[in-house]
């Protein structure tokens, strides 16, 4: 596929926002915020940060649409379409995080219940976002449980790294626990992403030129795709870069999204330097952008069988 940057930004930004909210709500469940007003305000402010990330993601998604003024229609087909479900889950999650932050700002006791609802919306959003890709059965690189697990673990990882950085500045006593969880999620995400890379490397395409045109002969070659100018089919479904680019990008994102953030986390926590933790988040986010681009680009669409040779 030819990755759309709107989708790359959408999935990484909302992942970080979701992970950050889960980190904040975890702290609340463990007793943070029940005490003085300062803790409430801190949770409210951090909730606002999570909201900003999801809002930026939503903004990025608008650029993917040809007719954004009709975007409201996208909630209609939630019975059949995972994209429609995501379109519902994202604003629902944003609204609940907003309500949760406002409730904290005013010190309302209802925060815990709003938080539980937001947690459910957050998990639903992870599932919906993953299923948008995993549910297309003939994009074999995407059609796997790894897609859901990776989206969730990588969102948790970047959210918890962000929570660690924020805590290091505002509530240092939480930085250690958040850092440990960020470490765990980053390692788990790295393992699961590595396994999915291994799975995709072994995939055998189900569709062949033989099944595409229905002629059972071992030797078939396209001589003309029927037109010489480009078309939507030649632009949308192939990234147009050499295989070496993808190989190099794979190593780049493995280092930037997993290895470097782990090193920076360890250095920042051991030496107590918040700037290193902030840098860990930035480096990991850039790595995740590369990871998501690679994820989208790696999928081989069977329609490309029909568009191989100009003439």
């Amino acid at each position: 596929m030819n990755p759309a940057f709107s989708v790359v930004f959408l999935t990484t930004l909302i992942g970080a926002g979701q992970g950050l909210f889960l980190a904040l709500f975890l702290a609340e469940l463990l007793g943070f915020g029940s005490g003085d007003a300062g803790e409430h305000a801190l949770l409210a402010a951090s909730g606002a940060v999570a909201l900003v990330f999801t809002a930026l993601g939503l903004l990025a998604s608008v650029f993917h649409l040809g007719r954004p003024e009709r975007a409201w229609r996208a909630a209609a087909m939630w019975r059949t379409s995972w994209l429609s479900r995501e379109v519902i889950a994202l604003p629902a999650f944003m609204g609940l995080v907003f309500a949760w932050s406002v409730a904290h700002w005013f010190g309302s006791p209802a925060t815990i219940w709003i938080g539980w609802l937001a947690l459910l919306a957050c998990l639903a959003l992870f599932v919906c976002t993953g299923m948008v890709y995993a549910s297309i059965r003939f994009l074999q690189e995407w059609a796997s449980a790894f897609t859901l697990v990776n989206f969730t673990l990588l969102g948790l990882a970047s959210g918890f790294v962000l929570a660690t950085a924020l805590a290091a500045y505002a509530a240092p006593e939480w930085a250690g626990s958040y850092g440990l969880l960020a470490f765990v999620f980053t390692v788990a995400g790295g393992i699961s992403r590595g396994l999915s890379l291994q799975r995709n490397a072994r995939l055998k395409p189900k569709s062949t030129l033989q099944s595409a045109i229905g002629i059972r002969h071992p030797k078939i070659a396209q001589r003309s795709m029927g037109f010489m100018g480009g078309s939507f089919n030649t632009r949308e479904f192939f990234h147009g870069r050499p295989a070496a680019f993808l190989r190099q990008l794979k190593w780049l994102f493995l280092v930037a999204a997993f290895v470097l953030p782990l090193l920076l986390l360890a250095l920042g926590l051991v030496n107590g330097v918040p700037a290193l933790l902030a840098l860990a988040f930035v480096v990991q986010y850039l790595g995740l952008l590369a990871e998501r681009w690679f994820f989208l680009a790696q999928a081989n669409h069977p329609q490309n069988l029909y568009y191989q040779v100009v003439s």
Binding site: R67, S81, K206, G214, M225, S231, H301
Partner: protein, 242 residues
């Protein structure tokens, strides 16, 4: 239940692209608005088409066959592009099984094109909505047209009559008979999309030459083979033989 569909005879298609141009002509002048052509006379022209003719070479030289392969939306009976549409703009008509896009509801998210393994959908870069073959729904349902013309533009245009149109659920229709009698098949059966359009395979054509076509059995004067034929002088071979 009616399921309108095309049956395309690969044994007959000569790859003239008449179906491509007639499709473009009809659908660009139809009620749904023009199909975009971006820089048609520029350096990098591109545009939206509902139908393409592609060419494949099967076999290894010198034993090769050139197969011209017209490709458009297959109007699947279980279309994967329809349930993924978040707005309901993509739908399959109950009355005749045609898969259509409601251009007024489409938000241009392209998700349906990802969900079509055949690459049958093309976005209209000007209107920013997804477009696809309509099976000329505005022709085939137009009762003002003579019955013989209530067919898709590509079917009417095909000079070799390689495109058949009809209801594949009616066992007595032309298309059902063609599929049944000439081993019509569907594309990419591995995804269980159950395409309504079918293709008729190439057939081996051989000339059978019998011995009596070369040497006459009825040869009372024993002329054949007895002496070399004289050079053509005035009268033809028939005169010499009789």
């Amino acid at each position: 239940m009616t399921q309108l569909a095309l049956v395309i005879d690969l044994n007959v298609c000569v790859g003239c692209h008449a179906c491509v141009t007639s499709c473009k002509q009809w659908n660009t002048s139809g009620s749904a608005g023009p199909l975009v052509d971006d820089q048609p006379y520029g350096a990098d022209p591109t545009g939206t088409f509902f139908n393409r003719v592609q060419t494949f070479e099967v076999g290894e030289f010198p034993n090769t066959q050139t197969v011209h392969f017209p490709k458009s939306c297959l109007h699947c009976e279980d279309p994967p592009c329809v349930p993924v549409c978040p707005t309901g703009a993509s739908y399959k008509r109950k009355e005749d099984g045609i898969v259509l896009v409601d251009y007024d509801k489409c938000i241009g998210c392209k998700y349906c094109s990802w969900a079509c393994p055949y690459g049958a959908r093309e976005i209209d870069e000007e209107r920013k909505v997804m477009t696809k073959c309509t099976l000329c729904v505005d022709r085939v349902t137009d009762t003002a047209l003579p019955v013989a013309e209530r067919k898709p533009a590509c079917v009417l245009a095909c000079p070799a009559n390689a495109r058949l149109f009809g209801d594949v659920h009616d066992p007595e229709s032309v298309v059902s008979k063609a599929i049944r009698e000439r081993a019509g098949y569907a594309l990419m059966p591995e995804w269980n999309t159950r395409p309504a359009n079918h293709y008729l395979p190439r057939r081996r054509t051989e000339i059978t030459v019998h011995a009596e076509d070369l040497v006459r059995v009825d040869n009372p004067l024993k002329i054949d083979g007895s002496r070399p034929e004289p050079p053509q002088q005035g009268a033809g071979r028939e005169d010499f033989a009789t």
